[in-house]
């Protein structure tokens, strides 16, 4: 599989599979486009006709509330027709292979697949096997990437902080199993964040994580010292059984974000969380609902960012100009 699967022959973004390999300009272009879509959600009639007549399939092999809903709303606000497939109850459970499922849906003349799967590389695999007019957006593949989440996090950070090149960012929690963290690291590095720290016990940090351009910390006090942005990650309950951490209580004591620990960061630091939150495990309610939290704006921004990504990659498919004309009626 070629590295440039995401781009077409003229270098335009075709699929949105991972942040890795995207240029700073492309990421900023998405953020700027998203900014212009924020107003759409505030209008009386929340629609633009950019994807009118296009069919978007939400292909979720793994459960999701937030991501699937925001993708659906984003596609609908762009006037696309949206199909949600609950794959757990459909043909794959009858033994159909992944690629056959995709080929069948493709035969129904669909234009865009939004894919989530619990195995790393699924979106890449599908993208390598679809005909050229079909577009793929990765909505999370195993522990590999969740690029739209990283984009909306970057958008939220830019709204609150402005220039990325002066920020210190800490990512706290289960980095090892987190696709969100990996995509965030790539996005923040590309955007020029000078210092990215990851904070977790060694059991939750991948080997050689520093090769991705981050500074690993195991202590919250030193890790959060002077940071502008704290990005929390969800800790899954099954990690306890894998001997990765001793107990919820110990984890909360050491790594749970409380007001006390947040005080190590800058006074105006913001707190992000991709959801779903475990209150009292990785984050204290006082922080989650506090003034520094931007967790709910993240969700709102998610719609605009996903609209921007869909518009951008679909815009490259056919008659981009006429559609752009429609965008500004």
């Amino acid at each position: 599989m070629k590295q440039d699967l995401q781009f077409d022959s003229s270098g335009r973004l075709k699929h949105f599979l991972t942040i890795e390999g995207l240029s700073r300009q492309t990421i900023l272009q998405i953020l700027d486009t998203a900014k212009s879509f924020i107003s759409v959600g505030q209008r009386e009639i929340k629609k633009v006709p950019l994807l009118r007549g296009k069919t978007v399939v939400n292909l979720f092999f793994e459960s999701s509330t937030r991501t699937r809903t925001t993708f659906e709303i984003a596609a609908k606000r762009l006037s696309a027709d949206v199909i949600n497939l609950n794959v757990a109850t459909s043909s794959t459970s009858k033994g159909e292979t992944l690629l056959d499922t995709v080929r069948n849906l493709e035969a129904m003349h669909t234009d865009l697949f939004v894919v989530r799967h619990d195995r790393a590389g699924t979106a890449h695999l599908i993208a390598a096997h679809v005909p050229p007019h079909v577009r793929i957006i990765n909505a999370g593949d195993g522990a590999h990437a969740h690029p739209t989440q990283a984009m909306l996090d970057a958008f939220t950070i830019r709204e609150a902080k402005g220039d990325f090149r002066k920020l210190r960012v800490a990512i706290v929690g289960d980095i090892q199993h987190s696709r969100v963290a990996r995509s965030q690291i790539h996005a923040l590095n590309t955007l020029g964040v000078p210092e990215i720290r990851v904070i977790a016990p060694r059991t939750l940090l991948p080997t050689a994580i520093e090769r991705l351009g981050v500074v690993p910390h195991t202590d919250m006090r030193t890790g959060l010292d002077g940071v502008d942005v704290v990005m929390m990650l969800r800790l899954q309950h099954e990690r306890m059984s894998g001997a990765l951490i001793p107990s919820e209580q110990e984890y909360f004591n050491l790594y749970g974000l409380t007001l006390e620990k947040l005080a190590y960061a800058k006074r105006d630091a913001i707190v992000l969380h991709p959801g779903p939150m475990n209150r009292g495990l990785e984050i204290d309610s006082a922080v989650a609902d506090g003034p520094q939290s931007v967790i709910l704006p993240q969700v709102t921004n998610g719609i605009a960012v996903r609209m921007a990504i869909m518009a951008l990659i679909m815009g490259g498919s056919a008659e981009p100009r006429s559609r752009r004309a429609e965008a500004n009626p």
């Binding site: 070629k2 699967l5 292979t97 195995r119 790393a120 590389g121 890449h124 590999h144 990437a145 090769r211």
Partner: protein, 416 residues
Amino acid sequence: MSLAIRGGFVCDPANRVNGKRGVYVDAEGFVVAVGRAPRGFKARRTIDATNKIVCPGLIDLRARLREPGQEHKATLESELRAAVSGGITTLCCPPDTMPVIDTPAMAQMIQSRAWRFGYAFIHPLGALTRDLKGQHLADMEALDDAGCVAFTNAMTPVTDTLVMRRAMEYAASFDLVVFLHSQDPWLSANGCCHEGEISARLGLPGIPEAAETVAVARDLALIDQTRVRAHFCGLSSARAVQMVGEAQRRGLPVSADVTAHHLHLTEHDIGYFDTQCQVRALQRRRAGDFGPGNAAAAGSAAGSREAPDNVRGDRRGNVESGGYPGTRLRPAGCRRYRGHMHFRPPAALAIAAREYVFARTQHAVSRHRVRGPGHPYPGGRAGRLRIRKIEATGRAQRTRLSSGAGAWLTATCSLY
């Protein structure tokens, strides 16, 4: 049909031949001379092997055949054909078939079926423990009589150290050879590539180097105590190769092999989830990690010299990324062929090789008086092969049928 293979580069480490020579084969299929043609030799057919390498048939120490039990994936016939077209003339079949090769009947059945197809020789590897469960010892001596050349628990680790010790002790009492796939099942659980930068970047579950070194260390300690003759299969880390090398220098009866994929592919070849680069064994950093020094340390049995023993890698695409199943042949040095599902040697020489091996195999069949389909191959006869002789490619076969005229057997054209 008498045959002359001229102009090729003959590579036969067992007989210390390494250079441009002619190879002359008599009508019976035996090599009668290497170098100059014997007096009065007349070839009915001449193969021009200029710019080709000519070497004895390769031995694959671990060809996981799918028959019996998984014929939907591959059959004995398809695997034998694939092997021969890649220059491999002898296959050792691990016991993880369905049912497991833990009875003499199974061992004989596989051999007799293979004889019927011809193409290449098959030597079964017997199960070390019954049903590979790691609890009770298999009937090793009976299996040895039925033609099993060595004993192994295949890819299923014997986790119970006491059972492993007993199995080694028992094998040692009859001077049987044990093949070991040393990998710690807990450290490697769910892993699908080397744990390091690439696994961190791609979010793939990794297998740490310690998964191998821990298990090799345990097995070496047991070998030290039991003095069983043992062979480590498919080592994937430089550290493990070093450990085996050190054990050899201490005088332990051990050898090892590495696979061609580990010499020619690294974790970096995975790129963005290239499932063609997923191999069942671990995928270590760099081919260079093995280094000439390390390979030499483990003696003749490790490093690139041994690679031909393992040139066949059939890999299912049961991948992290949910790819496609399929069997493919990936011979040594095939890196530049990546992207092709199947490796195809240049057609003309492949045909020559196949014909030649075919002729040779049929000759062997007649020697063993197999009376036709359905008649069992007399067990134990060809099976009394000792691992010491397998170590260097070619030597095993030469020894086995040394009653023949020439020193060589089944010289095939190995193709680059």
